[in-house]
Symmetry: D3
Subunit: 223 residues, 6 copies
C-alpha cells in the first residue's frame, strides 16, 4: 500500500511562475474561491512567496522517513507538500533537508505539522508554511507514500498541482486548470489596478460597485 510514484505531470514552468507572481488571494479568487489551505498554515518568516509544483508526501505522525524518499523525486521548481496520517506537530524538517532540497532545485515546503531550524531556513532563503514550529525530533520507522493524493490542512492536493504561497497563506491550483486560472488571475490583477486608482482618487466602493440601490432594497436604513 505504501508507494512512491516516480512519474508525475507538472504544469508548464511559466504558468507556475505566473501563478506565484499573482499571489494567493488573487489566485484563490480567480479559481472560484477554492483551494485554500486552513488559516493555521503560516510562513516561518514573512516576505516569501512561491509558485511551485507539488511533490506530495503522506507521512506517519512524528516520522520523517518519507521526506528523504520524496527529495529524490524533486525536480527544479518543485515544493514538498507533507500531510500526516495522524495529527502531529513534531519537527519533520530542518536545515539539512533544506540543503538537500536546494541542491536539487526544490524551492520550499508546505507541511501540516512542525518544522525546525527556522532561523537557518530563513538565512538560506528556504520558505516553509507550517502548522507549528517545533524542535521535536522524528523517527524513521514507518512507511508512508510519495506522490499520492493527500488532504493537507483541509485541501485536496494531487502530485503536480500548483502551489501558490505567500504571507496570506497557501492555495492549490489543479494542474489541468492552471492555464485557465492564470489567465483569470492576470485579468483580475489588471482590473484591480483600475479600481485601485479610482479608490485612491476618493471614489467610494459603494459607488464604484453600484451598491446603493441593492442595499436599500435589502432594507438598510440610514439614521
Amino acid at each position: 500500500m505504501n508507494k512512491v510514484v516516480q512519474q508525475i505531470k507538472r504544469a508548464d514552468p511559466e504558468v507556475v511562475a505566473g501563478l506565484g507572481a499573482c499571489g494567493v488571494a488573487t489566485v484563490h479568487e480567480a479559481q472560484g474561491r477554492k483551494g485554500l489551505l486552513a488559516a493555521y498554515m503560516r510562513p516561518i518568516y514573512s516576505g516569501a512567496s512561491v509558485g511551485a509544483s507539488a511533490v506530495t508526501i503522506l507521512a506517519p505522525p512524528a516520522d520523517n522517513w518519507m521526506v528523504h524518499v520524496a527529495i529524490e523525486q524533486v525536480q527544479a521548481g518543485d515544493i514538498l507538500v507533507l500531510a500526516t496520517t495522524s495529527s502531529s506537530d513534531a519537527g519533520y524538517f530542518g536545515d539539512l533537508l533544506a540543503t538537500s532540497m536546494q541542491a536539487r532545485g526544490g524551492v520550499g515546503l508546505i507541511i501540516d505539522a512542525g518544522v525546525r531550524d527556522v532561523r537557518d531556513l530563513k538565512e538560506m532563503g528556504f520558505p516553509v508554511w507550517s502548522k507549528a514550529i517545533s524542535a521535536q525530533g522524528t523517527v524513521k520507522e514507518t512507511l508512508g507514500s510519495v506522490n499520492v493524493p493527500v488532504v493537507c490542512a483541509g485541501a485536496l492536493i494531487n502530485p503536480g498541482d500548483v502551489i501558490v504561497a505567500d504571507d496570506d497563506g497557501v492555495c492549490v491550483v489543479a494542474r489541468d486548470e492552471a492555464v485557465a486560472v492564470l489567465a483569470k488571475a492576470q485579468a483580475r490583477l489588471a482590473s484591480e489596478e483600475v479600481k485601485r486608482q479610482r479608490l485612491e482618487d476618493g471614489e467610494l466602493g459603494l459607488d464604484m460597485y453600484d451598491m446603493r440601490e441593492r442595499l436599500a432594497e435589502k432594507g438598510l436604513k440610514y439614521e
Copy 2:
C-alpha cells in the same frame, strides 16, 4: 433592524493622539484595567501603533458588504472596528479597501475575523489587528449595521470610542472617559520614568515598592 448611524461623536483629536502615544499597556492600566480585547487579536506586522476613533461594523460571517458601507462614514483619524454576528476567519479586507480607507484618512482596522493582502498592507503602512490572516473570499449578500455598539473580541465598543493598538494588542477607551484616562496615563508614564531609573541603578522592586513586610506577613519563607 440593519442601520447605519451617520452622526457619531468623537473624542478630541489631540486626546485620541495622546492616548495612542501612551500605548496599550499604559492606557489599560490607567483606566483601571478594563477595555482590553482578547489576546488572540494580533497585529499583521510589528511596530505599528495607533490612537483612533472607532467606526464600528457588525457584519455577517464571511460577508464584507458592510465594510464598503462603513468606509463612507470614515473621517480622518478613524479606525474600522469589525465584529461578526457568527464566528468567522474569512478574509474580509485587503489592499483595495485599505486604499479606499487611506483616501479618506482612515488609519487602520480592528477585526474579529480574517484579513488578506497582508504584505501589501504592510507596504502601505496600513495596520490591522485581527484574529486570523486568510485569503478566503467573502460575499456581499447580507446586511449588517454600521456605528452600532458591538462586542469585538470580548470587549464592548461604541462608535466614537477611542481605540489604542500596538504590538501588545488592542484596548478601547470610552469616548467620555478619554480625557480623564489620558491624564492618568500620562501621569503613569512620568511615574514609570522615575522607577525605570531607580531599577536601572540596581534598586529592587522589593524595596522600591516596600514589599518585604507584606510578603513576610503572608508567610513567605526564605531558605
Copy 3:
C-alpha cells in the same frame, strides 16, 4: 508552603554558553529528544537565542508578585522561568521588570503565561518566550514560590537547570547532565557539517544514510 530557595547550584558558565550556541534543535537531539517545552511557547521577536541558568517561579494566575521576589535571586547569566498554578494569559512582565533584570545581569524570561511592552523589550534586547502577548495587568496578592521545581509548558524544570532558547522554541537541560549534553551536541554539530557538505554536493539522504535496503524490506514500492 510558599518559599524562596536562595542557594541554588548552577552549571559552569562556559557550559551554559556552549549549550546556548548549539541551539535548541541540536541540544534536544543530543540529550535523547527530551526537555522540550510545548510548541506554543514562542519568542516575542525573532533572532534571539540564549543559554542561561533557570531561576524558577511558581506563580498564581494573573499575579506577578513572585517575579519581584525572584529577581533578587537572579545572578548574571540567569533567566527567569515562570509557571502558573492555574492557567493564565495575563501580562505578568513588562519593560520595568526587564530593566530590573538587566541591571542584575539577567538575560531573559520563559513564561507559561503572557508578557507585555513587547516593543520595548525588543528594543532593550531582552528576549522572552511566552504563551501569549497580553497587556492584561496582574495583581500582587497571593504568594507563590521561587526556585522550586516547576512544570512549565509541559517540561519539568529545576532551579539551576540550563535553558536553551531560540527561534525553534525552548529546551531544558538538567544541570548535572549539562557537560555531557554539551559534548554530544558539539559532536553532532561537527557531524552535521560534514553531512551538509555532502548534501550540498547533491548526495541524497537515501544514500548518505543507507536507507534504500531498509525501505525495500519494509515494503515500499516504486511505480
Copy 4:
C-alpha cells in the same frame, strides 16, 4: 470602582419562564439572531433548561470572592452570570455555593471560566453552563463587582436581563425586550408546529419555502 448594585429590575417572572420554555434556538431567532453566547459555553450535564434573571459578576481570574457577595443579591428565579477580567479556567464554583444558591431560590450559573463538583451539581439539579470543568481552587483576595454590565463569552449582559439556556447553549434577552421577544418566540413555535407536520408528511423544504425559483435565478444547475 468595585461596587455591588443592590437594586436591579427584573422582567416579569411569567415572561422569564415563558422564554425559558421556548428554548435557546427559538428565542435567539425571535429576537433577530442576537444575544447568543460563544459556542464554547457548554452545560455540565445534558437535559437541563432554564429561563432566569441575571445577577452579574465581574470577577478577577481565579478569585471567587465576588460569588459570595453576589449570592446575597440573589432572589428566587435568578441565575448567576460570571465574567472574568482576565481569562481563567479555574473552578470558581462547587457544591457548597450551589447549596447556598438553592437556599435562596437561585436556579443556575453561567460562567466564562471553570466549575467543579460537577457530579454533585448534577445530583442537586443545579445546572451550569461553563467554559471549563476544573477542580482548580480559587482565592478570595481581589475585589470585583456585582450587578454591573458584563461581557460574558462574547455577549453583553446587563443585570436583570433574561438568560435562556439549554443543551444548545446560552442566550441573553434584554430585560425591556423580553415581552416582545416572548410573543415572537411563541408565534415562531406555533408556526414551526405547522411546518413540522408538513415535513413529516413528506413535503420538501424546497417547496414549502418556495425556493426553487430563486435557486434557479442564482444559477444552480441540476445534473
Copy 5:
C-alpha cells in the same frame, strides 16, 4: 459552478449496514488506517452508530440553503455530509430539517460546522456528528453544491461513499472498496474475539503477539 448531481452510485445496502455494524475503529483498521475524520467531530449524544451512504454538501459559511436542496436527493439509508467553503460553527441544522430527513428515510448528519435543537434530535433518534453545537442562525443567500467531492474535517468524501460513525468518531469508506473493506473488517472482528478470550484468561499481549524478542533487540532494558 454550483451544481446538484442527482444520480449517484451507492454501495449495496447490506454492505453499508455491515460496515456500520463493525464500527469506526474496526473499519478504519480494516482499510489500512485511512478515512478517519478529525477527532473534533463528536456525536451530539452517545450511543448512536450508523452505516450510511453519503449525500454530500459544500456550503458557504453560516448559510444552510443547500441543506434543503440536498434533502431532495436523499434516499432511505442516506446520511448528509456537510463541508463548508470557509470555517463556520453556526447552527445549520435543527429539528425541522431532521423531520424532513426522517420523512425521506435519511439517517443522520455529519457536519464540519454547528448543529442546534440537540435535545430534540436526541429524542427523535437522529444522530449528528459535528464540530460544534450552536443555536446561531444561518441564512439562505449563497449557492453551494450537492453531491460533489468534499473535504470534510480533513477527509476526502465522494457522494455515495460509505460513512461509518459511532462514539469513536466518523470514518469514510470509498464506495468501490466497501465490499473488500467489509470482508476484512469482519475477519478482524472474528480474530479479535479470539484474542479477547485469551486476554481475559490472563495471557499478556507481550506473549500473544510475540513481542519480547523484538523489544529486546530494540534495546529495552528491564530493571
Copy 6:
C-alpha cells in the same frame, strides 16, 4: 535509555481507596492546591471515579507498544498513566487492552492522547480520562519507558503515586504524602458537611466566613 522499572513502591491500598472516595476537588484542596492535570483531560463517560496507583508510560507519538509492556507491570488496583514524547491524539488504547488490564486487576487509564472503543469501555466499566477520543490506529515500532517519572497533561507523576480521578478531572498525590493528604481531605469533608447544613439553612457565605469587614476594608461599595 529506554527501560522498564519493575519494582515500584505503592501507597497502602486503604489510603489509595480513601483518597479515591474523597474525590478530585477535595484532594486537590487538601494537598495545597497542587497536582491537578490540565482541564482538557476529560472522562470518556460520566459518573466514574477512581483512586489507584500509577504505572507510568512514556510513549512515542502514535505508538502504543509500551502499553503492552506496561500491562505486565500492573497489579490489582493500578491505573495506567500515559504521557507522550511528542503531542499526539491517536487512539492508543481500546477494548482489547482494557480486557487485558481488567484480567490483571487494573482499574483505568489516564492518557495525554487519544482512546477508542469508548462505548465498549463504558460497557466494561473501564474508565479513561483522555485528551481526545480517536479511532486513529497506532504502530509498535519505537521504544519508550515504563515506570519512569513523566509529565502528563502538565503534572509531574512518579510511578506509584496515587491518582484520583472523577468527573472533575484528574489529580496526582505523591506516594509519600498520601497518608497526610488523606487525613486532611477527610477533615475537609467533615468540615464541609457542617457548612453545607448552615448554607442549606439560609446562612450566607459572607457571614459564615466573616467576609464583610475585609470586603469593606478593600473598598467594596454597596449602591
